[in-house]
Amino acid sequence: MAAANVLELAGLDISFGHGDYTFNAVRSLSLEVKRGETVAIVGESGSGKSVSALSIMRLVEFGGGRIEGGRIRFRRRDGREIDLASLDPEEARRIRGNEIAMIFQEPMTSLNPVFTIGDQIVEAIVTHQKKSRREAAKIALDMLQRVRIPDAAQVMKRHPHQLSGGMRQRVMIAMALSCKPQLLIADEPTTALDVTIQAQILRLIRELQQEQSMSVVFITHDMGVVAEVADRVVVMYRGEKVEEGDVETVFRSPSHPYTKALLKAVPHLGAMRGTSAPAPFPVPGKSDEAPAAPAAPAAPIAYDSEPLLSVRGLTTRFDIGEGLFGRITKRVHAVEGLNLDIWPGETLGLVGESGCGKSTTGRSILRLVEAEATKLRFDGEDLTRLSKSDLQKLRRRIQFVFQDPYASLNPRLTVGYSISEPMLLHGLEDRRNAFDKAVWLLEQVGLQADHANRYPHAFSGGQRQRIAIARALGTDPKLIIADEAVSALDVSVQAQVINLLMDLQARFGLAYLFISHDMAVVERISHRVAVMYLGQVVETGPRASVFEDPRHPYTRRLMSAAPVPDPQKRITDRPLITGEVPSPVHPIGNPPAINEMLEVGPRHFVAREENGGRPAHRAA
């Protein structure tokens, strides 16, 4: 083992299952990690990257996996070398959390909900160090301060559910680093976080890494994050390493076709500079399930005509009750006085971070949550009163595609039935015709007719999202609300689904309300963009002008926080924000002020005042 190395994997084989059902998740993986170095393992779901990480921790066996062969050589704190792969489980436990620590993707569920933050960190410390609980509490407090948690002493006493996702991930990092490990394994640590929070967490990991001269194995599917953090990159594909190299080489001249395809599929913020219409992703030749991209862009949007959907003063509030009789004292102003226009055949991208009200906006339009609006026009009709038949019409002509393709299809119904159900519900077709149409729709979204008789579990995430899209198309909608519809998909699949959406838009003249947190994806697909913050739109306009000339400070912050998949554009001096985002909760009788919008360019509007009580922003 080379002296500079902390970790060396050699010929690692990991499998799951037994006999005929054996699945080789990782095949002869070799890699090395030097002291203080960050190695990114990149790949899509199922590539074996997380399994490799879990096997370094010797956690893989708790999930039913086995290390079949190979070595995991690790240099301990005292300089001795050991082979983790063949280590006795009790010995491995002593190293776990002590000399090798790990943080996970899901900060919301990775902390035990029933114990306080302080207890959980203290537990990690007293397990591995000869410290009293009081000494351990001191260390825990110090760690919480080092991960920039404001008011750390208070946070020690809180329970996980009282903290936001970003704060919880900081707590996880504090816990992982509390025993000063030689090696930190970070498994998609920022995937579930907002971009601005992600930027802070990445910076934090980098700073702590330098302070403790620690090595980091960073597992991610996000090439933007790789470019931001990695010294070296290992690309995995179907359980095998297909490429390895320093980060600049891999990005500049990838050698393996898979790496090339992966890099091509990555949405690139700024890639659309100088164009105004959306454009499909360049998908390389072997697109087995993607239909051909539309040859010609759809007809230009007629912005002087009447919008397809026009909403004014859309407001959704959730009451918070307190006291003996549940008197309402506060409200969450999830959506406040929102105005929205969508023209036929257009894609409006609605972006913002979690909690900004973008998903609630989509649900409010179809009254999936209690909401009100001062004006609602759809397809030339005034539906403000929203009678039962109005709502029925609205729900037929506007359809939803949700984020989670696994949860949004009923596992006990065939795909064909799921697709025909909305048609039956709205009385559009009889059973036989509905099924025929379902088959036809499956073909339209790039699947096959005989898939109609199968159940959802037989399909991958991307295929399921195609099925959800087919279901949405069944009632001949004019508008589809896509709520984070591609966020849960791997990049290459994401690119295919976005291309499919564009293709369908061109063929059926659909309009989309595309709700997303991902600026680069929104840039790709949108004609116009609306940026949402604290329940209101702070900036809206044609995509080209908003992305090329963002006027609102919040829009700028979102754009600068998005990781750039180019290691040469790495930003290292980003300010580290420690606080929590302002909250949309207001006491009763004190609603937030409605933003006044100024026109700063053709159809480009910016909020005069930043909401949340910040100083006035002057548009240039």
Binding site: I95, T127, M175
Partner: protein, 306 residues
Amino acid sequence: MLHYFLRRLAALVPVLFLISIFVFLFIHALPGDPARLLAGEAATQEEVESVRKALKLDRPLLTQYVDFLKNLATGDLGTSLRTGEPVSAMIARAFMPTFWLSVCALAWSLLFGLVAGVISAVRRGSPGDHAGMFLSVSGISMPNFWLGLLLMQFFSVNLGWVGTSGFDEPSDLILPSITLGAGVAAVMARFTRSAVIDVAREDFIRTARAKGLREKVVIWKHALRNALIPVVTMAGLQFGFLLGGSIVVEKVFRWPGLGSLLLDAINFRDYAVVQAEIMLFSLQFLLINLAVDMLYGFINPAIRYK
């Protein structure tokens, strides 16, 4: 938290009111005439009527119900139609034997169920797990009067270790509480097992292991505490049933408790006793449910009520 508790407590009043209506109507809808039963088979119709009058059962149902409610509100449970004794005294006498029986049964079955459930969950799929779950199915399916008789035959008659029936000394509790708790222990074991298996899949269990905690701590501290919510729910329901539902076991062991009292009262159409007991069972059930709900908040701070 206190507010929530008081609100829930206040909400019990209308529920109890509804229950009182149902109880009253049900019992009067039962076939059988207490006046006839009391007057005896040989009594003439006139004698029966005079008994009815003496018991104030000749008045309209509504009047009787209002009386019942009035008395209930002042804490007066009425007098037994059969013995003329105040119902409250009869219940007070029968309450403690049943209480002890239920508590003993619940205590051992909870402890056993929890431990067996966790061990089964940890050794999922092992022969031990299969054996445990086989026992558990047996426990659920075995009628408790049969188990009671078997135990009695073996330990009291053959070995003579404990008495066969009645409640005279603490050791008399052993057989009836084993009999009563067997089904509960089996249910708790199954419930705990599946709750622990569910929790073991959670991300925070992986975190606990990633910290390097000993497997014992991971399971008995991190997993079990989270698995307790469904387990406590089930335990509360079972306890409610135990308090009210030990009729069969009490009969088998001739236990001087509420179950025996209720059975006799129903046989004699002793309206006042039946009504009072069912109201008591309902109140117990509601209070236990409330206690369980409050317990959730202590187990899992994320569901602490306002």
